[in-house]
Symmetry: C2
Subunit: 411 residues, 2 copies
């Protein structure tokens, strides 16, 4: 794909600087696909002559190219302008607590290759980011390109991120990453790349908006249920991060003032009462007491440990006690979501994360509890579903985020 088989990297540095008129043209083509100069002039309310000059600037930097012909309105058919897929490559990197997922895409966002492997974030930032760089290098080599061809990388991490600086702030799962300059490290490997770092839940919400259950929906929530419970907020089509970048911290909303003490120090947070470890701990009690013969057996097979997925398997096998655990967790989560629905009035709630794999009973319990308590007008057209991209929502979202930041608007 590179011009002159990769020997000559593209000249311009990233992020690409655009003026607001150029950015409006790129946005229109991103949203609706290739357009003619006349279409663009009409949409943006400028003259045909001004549009020709804007398009000429974008063609000079090779960001736009002619990709075909539109329908003739009588005379010569107009040329359609599209984004130049060959301008460079984009990487989407989704770092989980125990996994590393990477996708390489062209500049139009078409995925060319994917890779997934187990990893341990606790090993630290450099080993993990170094390994990610090596995987991307290999992918680029298979495209006959070098590291200089990478123009953008989006990186999702399982912890709170200060978005503007791209650093983790007090991340409970990966304390050694605190404050680590992820962007600088990645740029030392890929000197031309625009690097964006965000929380995994925001990235997944973006992936679902781009290619999953959130397509075409202005306002929706992505709820990740795993070791913790987090929420990505899509507001008018964009990730909403709040005033300090920490919006969506729903796992520490209180559901019981007298509940158990959470790792955050408060009592009765949603997370400590309903996330994966809470389900697993209650399953362990059932297995140890023998109330659930299924879980007692599983406990023996697993050398005394159980996960939320084991409890889900017990539900699938018809275990009444296990069903009670999952229902209780769904009821707690749905109770909090009902309040968020009243406040935010989203069109959809998409549920993902490891615990979303334990079966349909969790979803139906969440749904029931949400609908029972929320404002009827807010729930009339509300969809509550499992996220549709599964494990892919992270890499797709990371790639999308990178593409959204590779252009910056001047002045």
């Amino acid at each position: 794909m590179p011009r002159a088989n990769g020997s000559q990297p593209p000249l311009s540095t990233t992020p690409f600087q655009l003026d607001s008129a150029e950015a409006a043209v790129i946005d229109a083509i991103r949203a609706d696909g290739p357009l003619s100069r006349t279409d663009l002039a009409r949409r943006l309310g400028t003259s045909r002559a001004s549009m020709t000059s804007i398009v000429n600037r974008l063609r000079a930097t090779e960001i736009l190219i002619e990709v075909g012909q539109g329908k003739s309105a009588g005379g010569r058919p107009p040329a359609l302008l599209g984004i130049n897929g060959r301008l460079g490559y984009v990487a989407g990197v989704d770092i989980g607590a125990t996994s590393l997922d990477i996708a390489l895409a062209n500049f139009r966002g078409v995925i060319l290759e994917r890779h997934a492997e187990e990893a341990d974030v606790r090993l630290g930032a450099e080993p993990l980011l170094g390994r990610a760089g090596q995987i991307i290098d290999d992918m680029l080599a298979r495209q006959d390109a070098s590291g200089e061809w990478l123009v953008a990388a989006g990186i999702g991490v399982p912890g709170p991120v200060e978005f503007s600086r791209g650093v983790l702030i007090a991340p409970p799962l990966m304390p050694t990453w605190e404050g680590y300059p992820i962007k600088a490290f990645v740029r030392s490997h890929f000197p031309r790349a625009t690097v964006v770092v965000d929380n995994d839940v925001n990235i997944m919400a973006l992936g679902e908006r781009e290619a999953g259950g959130g397509q075409g929906i202005d306002n929706f929530l992505f709820i990740k249920i795993g070791t913790g419970i987090g929420c990505g907020i899509i507001c008018k089509g964009k990730v909403y991060r709040g005033s300090d970048g920490c919006a969506g911290d729903v796992g520490h909303i209180c559901v019981d003032y007298n509940g158990p003490v959470c790792r955050c120090g408060n009592q009765g947070c949603l997370e400590i009462m309903a996330a994966g470890p809470a389900i697993a701990a209650r399953g362990l009690e059932l297995g140890q007491s023998g109330e659930s013969p299924f879980l007692a057996r599983r406990l023996q097979e697993n050398d005394g440990a159980l996960t939320a997925v084991d409890v889900g398997d017990a539900v699938a096998a018809g275990d009444r006690h296990a069903s009670q655990i999952v229902r209780e967790s769904g009821r707690r989560i749905g109770g909090v979501l009902a309040g968020l629905v009243n406040f935010y009035n989203p069109r959809a709630i998409l549920i993902g994360g490891g615990v979303a794999n334990i079966g349909h009973l969790l979803l139906s319990s969440i749904r029931q509890a949400t609908l029972r308590r929320a404002n009827p007008l807010s729930t009339r057209d509300l969809r509550i579903e499992y996220a549709s991209l599964g494990a892919d929502s992270g890499v797709v979202g990371a790639m999308t985020l990178a593409l959204e930041h590779v252009f910056v608007v001047d002045g």
Copy 2:
């Protein structure tokens, strides 16, 4: 103020149709005051020649006028372009359950006259809107203008509004208004006016953003505590209404699954447990039992009735039991706000409504409960304050809303 002392109304119809480049010019001047053509061209990334043509179109419709001269950069000082305050008048109407507040402003949003009177929304839409029309007519007459000079009216109502149609949906305080065509009625009186109808809480949030405690803040919440509890959400500087227009319905978030039954049919809603009537009812118990001598006396003076303000007076007089009621209400409200802070991460929470007048103890209790439970990163720079415009936030917000909708962008 009108040209030719009001005898010749402006020619164009409203809302004023703009293309996106014209709208960008208006937005820039709205945000930063008068600007030169060169300033505008630089900000919008267009050539000086294109900007001259955009400005010429806006001057031809008299939306922009030259308002003075900028600093010379060596040669002739450049003309500054501003919005034409004389293009017409704008009314802000704030309808409360028992009050009618109206302000008349010029097209730049400078308030020329205000009026407040008692009113009863239960009398129905036509008597109340007719009275509002008469007040606006009188105000216009004092400006030597007629009804045709009103180019925009914003109307706030104390009930749920379907924003696009401007009608009330199942309003508990004003059932006879359900589905009433408010916009059409107002336009029958003021044929050129762009009419916008919104919920009172959204309007108040907008007023605080424009001229109160929310100035310059991107993301904040306005909480109204009165007979009910509602929330106006400002997101990136704009009112966020949600997917069905009913975002901010925080009064029916559950705080106690075993609590009393609310008028919505659910148990333990925040509103039934913490709003004005809950405070008054608990005050009544204290007065009747004699536990609070202050409230027992007030009960006699008031012929057996008490309001939340009476309980506030008891607090001010040092009544320990009354303080307990107010603290309890603040604790409940703060508990819900803590969850909303975790989710939305706003920069400020502004508290208004009738019950906000009962004194500082309510605010300090709300603050304490919010800060105790919310995510520390979200509360580091969070302000929790009483709204600063008091009774004016409604009219200012209604006027602001009208001005925001008097221009529409084509295509």
